[in-house]
Symmetry: C2
Subunit: 460 residues, 2 copies
């Protein structure tokens, strides 16, 4: 553990610079770096240049790296041999603004309201990315230099699925080599409960299409004589859960890492209320795999969802047809140590086996990504727990994430490094919605946490 004494001037610097850092955050937030909209490509580049310059000013060697899409920024601090290496990953691109009339102020005109800066990207991820950068700067300017090897990989395509990140990381694998990737793109557990995220789910996203007659047919003249693709689709989809809500694909659970007693106990202790949860989502009842709590189902159990279903006449009123085809988009979320490739194959084999021969089956694969789980016993996780405690003044909880982050297993595979996910914003920060916000107190506690992490890692 870093002596708190070494941290004191770093924390003091952060406190002294709070006003300036806030202004600089506002600066970056005025750039409408929406990666999804081609007309905003110059803005994404502008944000990349702003970031490169700011990283350089902080005391690192920064470079703007071109990709097939929007550029990225790669940077390195001075080499500290014998010390661990931390790679800060973040992104300076943002989601589209969405419905403008739902914003209470311009999405790219940052405003402070109720102690939070409101703007697109304030939390996701400009504000949180800057927590990492300003923490590093504090060490450079006030801590006698960075006590570890510190690198940055900041991209401009996260909100469009990071299509060029894997080749970029592969190409610069040596330069990006590290012990841990530091990611500030997650969230706290709740307003007063900081958290460290330790796992994300994998994803297998498929589409099945059942083809029957060559065209829609009159249901009076042809009904009951040939298989109805919509009926067969329903019968097929109905087989994927048993009465206990378990997924019936053979071998599906074979590789699932069971919850450790310790993690089970930690999840049970989290403030979570099914009635509150139902009120929030609007469903009439809880549903899920028997034998697990809602939190366990969300974080630690694989799921199977129908994301969309279609076929035949879907307009208003009625049309008496036997549909020529019907289809469904289905996806499975995976947990450690399931393999997306195996699950995709198992799903397809099961569908092909169960689909009746009275229709013709098409199977399409849309997306595939492995789950990720950090080693909870690593020095990095131990240091993260302590660092967030120092930054927020409250012991963080270890949580997981129900969503998928393909970059985590990619980092693990290409760089061999685990990710430390320290999220500082609220889970309800409207990350992809109007009125995205980031509390300034969290911005500051976040900078302190990352600064503490840098110091703590220097001593492991």
């Amino acid at each position: 553990m870093a002596a708190p004494s070494a941290l004191q001037p770093v924390f003091a610097h952060l406190k002294a610079q709070a006003e300036n850092y806030r202004k600089e955050l506002f600066d970056l937030l005025t750039i409408a770096s929406i990666s999804a909209k081609p007309q905003h490509a110059p803005d994404v580049r502008k944000a990349a240049e702003w970031t490169r310059d700011r990283v350089q000013a902080a005391g690192l060697k920064a470079e703007l790296v071109e990709t097939k899409g929007h550029p990225a920024v790669i940077a390195e601090g001075p080499q500290k041999s014998g010390r661990p290496t931390l790679l800060l990953y973040g992104h300076f691109d943002v989601q589209p603004e969405g419905e403008l009339n739902l914003w209470t102020s311009g999405p790219f005109v940052p405003q402070v309201r109720d102690g939070a800066v409101v703007a697109r990207g304030s939390a996701d991820d400009k504000g949180q990315m800057l927590c990492g950068l300003f923490a590093a700067e504090a060490w450079c300017k006030a801590g006698g230099g960075l006590p570890i090897n510190f690198k940055c990989l900041l991209e401009g395509e996260e909100e469009v699925g990071s299509p060029n990140l894997t080749p970029l990381v592969k190409e610069h694998a040596k330069r990006l080599a590290c012990d841990y990737i530091l990611i500030h793109d997650t969230a706290k557990y709740s307003a007063d409960q900081p958290a460290i995220t330790t796992a994300t789910k994998g994803l297998v996203y498929m589409e099945i299409i059942l083809n029957g007659p060559g065209k829609d047919l009159h249901s009076g003249s042809f009904g009951g004589q040939i298989a109805n693709p919509a009926t067969e689709l329903a019968r097929l989809l109905a087989t994927f859960h048993d009465e206990k809500g378990r997924i019936t694909i053979p071998g599906f659970y074979d590789d699932v890492a069971p919850l450790s007693a310790a993690e089970k106990a930690r999840m049970a202790k989290l403030p979570a209320d099914d009635a509150e949860f139902l009120k929030e989502v609007g469903s009439p009842a809880i549903w899920g795999e028997a034998g697990f709590s809602t939190v366990e189902r969300r974080w630690a159990r694989p799921t199977f969802e129908v994301n969309g279903i279609y076929g035949g006449y879907m307009g208003p009123g009625s049309s008496t047809i036997v549909p020529s085809r019907a289809g469904a988009k289905v996806s499975m979320r995976l947990v450690a140590n399931q393999k997306a490739e195996f699950i995709e194959r198992a799903f397809e084999e099961t569908v092909r086996q169960r689909c009746p021969r009275t229709v013709r089956l098409e199977v399409k694969s849309h997306a595939r990504c492995d789950p990720y789980m950090a080693n909870l016993e690593s020095a990095g996780i131990r240091a993260s727990l302590e660092a967030v405690q120092m930054g927020f003044g409250k012991t963080p909880v270890l949580i997981r994430e129900g969503g998928s982050l393909p970059i985590l297993p990619m980092f693990k595979q290409v760089l061999g490094a685990d990710s430390l996910m320290l999220g500082y914003c609220l889970p309800s920060c409207n990350a992809h919605s109007p009125n995205e916000f980031f509390h300034l107190s969290d911005f500051e506690a976040g900078m302190r946490s990352t600064a503490a992490l840098i110091g703590l890692l220097a001593t492991v």
Copy 2:
């Protein structure tokens, strides 16, 4: 049976007038009386006036009767007390033309090709309606007058579901009183096999909607914790057929009239080939209720079809959501003596019972109509068999229809009369498609058949 001698001058008249009748059919076919398109309302009226005038000229007293929509024509011949009464039902409105570039000639520019007149309405129903009218005229002009009471009810709203027919028939019930309704709006069994249609199916058309969360949710953050409406919809729909293809709604089959041995034998004798049928519809295999042939399933067994299914993300690619709702349009075709009202109630009760409480269920009713079956032993059916034999020179077969015709149970209920369905066009006449056609030889054989029926009914 009418002495063939009495028919001879009538048949001779039809033969002599063949060229003129064809020209008059062409005349009516040039009127674009599309009832579905408001801008064609004047054309529907023009067709009504043409029809009224032509009925009048044939020797009947004809009147144009206004409705809340397009006008109808009601007509009566001279009263023949002690003789049966035949009410010719037909319609002078037509389907929209559909895709114009698929027509080989203008839909309202009748042309003769391969012995058939090609035009919208040639078969459905202008050409067939005129078979009835010209047959009656032949009796008036050449047969010494109509030998029975002959009436007409010709409407202009059949192709939009006859929304004003029931009130019209109720209002004019006395004037329309009859022993049989004569309908030329069906088809032969095949090109060389004339037919008489004796039954139509009933219909119950419903929509069920399963509501889950208040909005679409992230499938990673919320999947596996609340019921997925699309999954539950699939599980629900999967329960409506058992392994033998039988419908599982309690009481569903209670009122089904079993097929008589005679009818079963007649159906078995019909030229019907499953392999040909599959080639025509493009499905890979036959499917249906165990223990029945394809023809029996089509005509004599009730069915349950999913006409449409929808929910969640239905666009290209993928979207990782738990849908907030999912729905299906389902319809049941009923046979004698099922009651649509009972089946609708039984369906709704079953759905409510089977739908899990983890979603909120909505049930909507879109359409309801009873099945219809003629008394196969009636004098009218016997006369029809003989009449078509005379007109076509080939013994007709008794067939049923898989579709629904709400007007038949309505006529039965309001007028107490059975319908005689003598269809003269081909089943493949493109009735609602481009290049609708009606063979001129069938037009002429049809006129002879109806003329013979009029003569035969005079003697029962």
